[in-house]
Amino acid sequence: MKTQIEHLTSDRLHQSYTRIRHKSGLTVCVLPKRAAVTYGVLGVNFGANDRIFRMTDDAVYAPMLTTETMPADVFHIPSGCAHFLEHKMFAERGGEDAIARFARFGANADAYTTPDLTAYLYSTTEDPYAPLEILLDFVMNPYFTEENVARERSIIAQEIRMYDDSPMQTGYYNLMAALYHTHPIRDNVGGTEETIRDITPAVLYRCHEAFYRPDNMVLSVSGNVTPEEVLAVCDRCLPDTVTANRTQRIYLPEPKTIVTDHVTAQAGAAAPLLYFGVKDNCLSSDPTERLRHASAVDILNDILFCKSSAIFSDLYAKGWINGRFGAEYEHNETYSYTLISAETAYPAETADAIRTYLADRVRLHDITDAQFARCRRVMYASSVTAYESTEDMALDCLDSTMDGTELFSSVDIMMQITKDDLIDALDALYRPECMAVSVVT
């Protein structure tokens, strides 16, 4: 394959960027912007949710759902693997840490793992290309030993304990376990102290080999860069050809039902924390369809739950909720949910109020033109201000590209959403049998 280059422009946002399909298979997005900080992120399509895979010829990266018996040659990896790998990628031969290599050029480096991806990033106010070379180099070259893996295990154990002591985390994961029967979104991204005991250098090498391939990654760079020079760095650091992918990720079928509609836990919270979840079964393997649905739900949630919404005013005036109230929506190929969270002395009453509010279809169908127009202004302004920061630009572009769409299409689709789309999303998503509540006290 030859390197392919395309330029993408948004007249609405007065922005443009270059998307390169590099001959190694890597997708590269370059977003030039006059700013102090250049920000680069390399995303690997391997996250905490990827727990079962097999190596086979004719593999595709899209997840395969097993509906019958699991193939015999699959690898089940312990929870926390993607996160452990993220930590340990920074180790280099000779005992050095990749952070120190970045520091030599005045760049900061970091990484994070989500259910869906692992991201390695750097930021710099100096030469943007030298750290980019280090980024591409260290992520492609693992170095794991029994000794360095064992030491990392104790560091990660402390990270796990830190989050275990957070009531917010307890409430969130209890909700996921109430909504999902089999999906690994139930499990802590970092794993548990038990599961990380089973993570060995061999397991890490196997995951790296399976997923850390240029054609399963996206590089996104924003700031004082040009497409030509970024491309030159890629040519120097990456292979000339794509090797055939043999990695097939596997997911167990997830029933449309929920596990339980109510779970409580004690975790020493100052005031009860309420996590109200709605499992969304409108999943699609088509990225544009997903984006359209997600855009409609985002607008809908804003109208339903933002600070100018009827329910927020009502519950706030009653003193049931404080400013820590909000709704967010996660939408992916294999799982999707709305999460409404609140700190409230009245968790049961607040949950009932949300249920009643969402059940009042007549009122919700009567979304006014004024509400809709205000919401479009909010969404438009959010899109414009998102491109103030090179970090936000690079990360937004990474997310949309990894999702199989592109940065500007999200704004365009957002502006095309009609009131009817909101009603459709409302009826499809907010079904009483898909709602669960997690309370932490």
Binding site: H14, A35, A36, I99, A100, A103, R104, G106, A107, N108, A109, D110, S123, T124, T125, E126, E152, S154, I155, I156, Q158, E159, R161, M162, D164, D165, S166, P167, M168, T170, A177, T192, E194, D261, H262, V263, T264, A265, Q266, G268, A270, A271, C306, K307, S308, F312, S313, Y316, A317, G319, N322, G323, R377, V378, A381, V384, Y387, E388, S389, T390
Partner: protein, 452 residues
Amino acid sequence: MTDIMKTNQNCIPLCPGTELYVIPKDTFKTDFIMFSFTLPLMAETAAEYALLPSVLCRGSEQYPTLEDLAKRLDTLYNAGIAGRAHKRGEAQVVTFQLRCLAEDVVPPEDENEGPLFVSLLDTFCDVLFSPLLENGVFSPAYVDGEKKNLCDAIRSKINNKASYAISRLDEEMFAGETYGISSRGTEESAAAVTPASLYRCYLDMLSRAPVSVTYVGRMTADEVTSALARFISHLSSFREENPTLYAPQTQVIRTAKHPLHRVEESMDIRQSRLCIGYRTGSVLSDGDFYRFALFNELLGGSASSKLFLEVREARGLCYDCASYPEAQKGVLYISCGIAADAKEEAEEAIASQIAAIRDGDITDEEFFAAKKSLVSGYREIEDSAAAIAVWYANRRAAGIATSPEETAEQVLSCTKEDMKQCAEHLTEDTLYFLRGTCTDGDGEEDWDEDTN
């Protein structure tokens, strides 16, 4: 890029005790303006001033409910009025940060009543100067609601064990000092606030607090001044011609006055928190605080720092171990999350890293990395209007005017000898240990299979 940051800001007197600073910046698609009211930090009024921004943003004459005000700001393209009270040394500063889209990115096809920035300032004036009153004081319902929220927020500190441990350290370390007063007050003082006491504080703030207004964006000083006409006329009506303005001073204690004060408490949690507070002998108004900022960066300010490399990477004792400086009072905090039985080793490891700097055991590579990391942090400020405004507001309060770029130059000129001196001036004051006593694993869930 540095020219803009080096430009002397225009300082324009608006009315008694009120000055406008205009920082020209043409790279943002937003206009940003910050209003800061500086008050003395006092136990009697801390809760009042913590409440004031939220009560004001709860509703005004023209926008009497939260919903009305939120709708108004949504209509102004998601414009923001963010009010809060925080501590700057031993002053309590009430700030309102306003942000809206710059005029040239407002869709031309939309119908608006006038320039967005002026509409936002009008809305802010309504919030600040025409609050919803009942019987001449704030609405009791709004005051009660926000008192409850403030108490919730004070109690919620415990949800985050790292910041909870630091707040306990503060209480212990600054027990007899003004700095020990929380910028949110206490639950007791919050509960004692009345609509009348809050209104008295409000009037006091408008008549006696020095006000600094900082604008960052593309407008000229004249344009900003004229957009502020309504604000100036309202504020002037609260001020005498030569008002007695507050001028809070911070008492700096440069060396710990006693042997290390140790405090240990237990909690049923899985990870223990170790926090140490030091007196640094260095504050922003000294003019050479950048040296201490670099010392902090070298010690525990980044993933290339001594604490991170020794306590986490070499010994594997923790996930997080970092140091944080406080620039007005002259304090350094070190905080890490560890297993309970690693306390002695972590203490020893932290002390060894401070001793290493004191002994001049600093490699060229780590010194270079610390400088680069700090300088990069200063240069990043230029990418955020709020960060620019806060940078200059803090420095004006300390009587200095250096830009981030000038400070970066100063940092680059620092020597290892400077670092040795910073380490020598550091004295341990208080050590707070939150011992985690929970040793069991999972099994805390209490499943309730009943359906509602």
